[in-house]
Amino acid sequence: MPLLVSDAIVLHAFDYLESSRILRLATREGGVRSALAKGARRSQRRFGSALDLFAQGSAQLSTRTGRDLDTLAGFDVVASRAALAEDLGRFAGASAIAELVLHFQSDHADPALFDALAATLDAIAAAPPSRAVDAALAGAWRVIGALGFAPALAECAECNAPLDDEAPALFTHAAGGLLCERCARLAPGGRRMPGEARRALQAWSRGGEADPLDAPAARAHLRLLREFLLHHVVDGRPLRAFELWERQSTGSGA
């Protein structure tokens, strides 16, 4: 069986049979892959704490042509990201990012996406609890950009006319970004974004930081992101982690 050795991040893990686990891994060289970790629940000696959620390390995967499930031969952990469990906002945000990658990435190598994911999880883990939602929103848009779904923010998504950075503009999911005044008049719907929100979105999409969000701004950004993702989800699977993150962050429920 060919061996794939790659940097990897654990995105999802669930128990399989009595003592094994099935992992969903984001890998630098092989995209998102499923792997069977035999005996992972019973023997801590084999994988140790490496297979915890969001842990990053070097995975050794035995692959087989025509099989969707690899076998995990080893995993040398480099970063455990335990800080993500020290705040529920961080945990929920990181889970939503993992869901985003699981939904949209294929099994093709995408080093830029892998790096964006790793940087995002690190940023969420390092964010103070009050800024966890900002860090996760920034990371989500960065990951979306790396996936190739980045919205048009500097110029009109329909006619490519340059946009004034300060003025409010209409954001439509169908067009894939902001519209100039002329195209906005013809658009059937959308959300009008104030300049501050547009600047935040632009900064996040470039992998930068924006000014701290207050609660109403965070709610508005979460709503925009949810609508954007739902517009691009084609298989009808619900965004369960995202819903939980939104509830957690806006205080409605959790």
Partner: protein, 196 residues
């Protein structure tokens, strides 16, 4: 669909059973005497009718309260919080714990759609508010999801009155070898060190 397909489909819904194993189990049952299949079916029916969650702690029982909650020798003032009813067996096998339990019914897992409202944390808070609880030991698994769940329990209990909330110790396994332990486990063991 044939009866064979029906049964294989039902088996395949069980955790860890794929289509191939489901068919193997089905053909195995077909080779057994009819009486054995009838007994299996009856046992499944009886289990579904009789087994239910304990009204106090959500352990599995055939009565209103489980055997642990009914036991007068148990310390009702100490409550050990576990993810699943099956975790109780593991703690009981150790033979050291004399308190009672509270089963959360899972752990926080946003990717599986399990949020705070899917766990019995609110019921635990009610139980503590009801009085008579001195300590809550959070014994969720030492995984990221288990830690997040422990954090949720601690947060929700913060306003529930005078109760000590403790976490089971994390670190090196008994009989283990420091040389072969991974870095994260050693780091946690060092963080949770205690005076001698």
């Amino acid at each position: 669909m044939s009866a064979i397909d029906d049964l294989a489909t039902e088996f395949a819904k069980l955790p860890g059973i794929g289509r191939k194993t489901a068919l193997r189990l089905t053909y195995h049952l077909l080779k057994q005497p009819a009486e054995q299949s009838r007994r299996l079916a009856q046992t499944l029916l009886t289990m579904g009718e009789r087994v239910r969650p304990c009204e106090r702690c959500y352990n599995l029982t055939e009565d209103v309260l489980c055997a642990v909650c009914r036991d007068p020798r148990r310390d009702q003032a100490v409550v050990c919080v576990v993810e699943e009813a099956s975790d109780i067996g593991a703690i009981e096998r150790a033979g050291e714990y004399r308190g009672v339990y509270h089963v959360l019914g899972g752990r926080l897992s946003p990717l599986d759609g399990v949020g705070p409202e899917d766990l019995t944390v609110a019921r635990l808070v009610e139980r503590v508010r009801g009085g008579g609880v001195r300590e809550v030991i959070v014994a969720t698994n030492p995984s990221l999801e288990g830690e997040a769940t422990a954090l949720l329990v601690r947060r929700e209990l913060a306003g529930a009155g005078e109760v000590a909330v403790t976490r089971i110790a994390l670190g090196l396994p008994v009989g283990g070898d420091l040389e072969y332990a991974d870095g994260v486990t050693i780091a946690r063991a060092l963080t949770a060190r205690r005076a001698m």
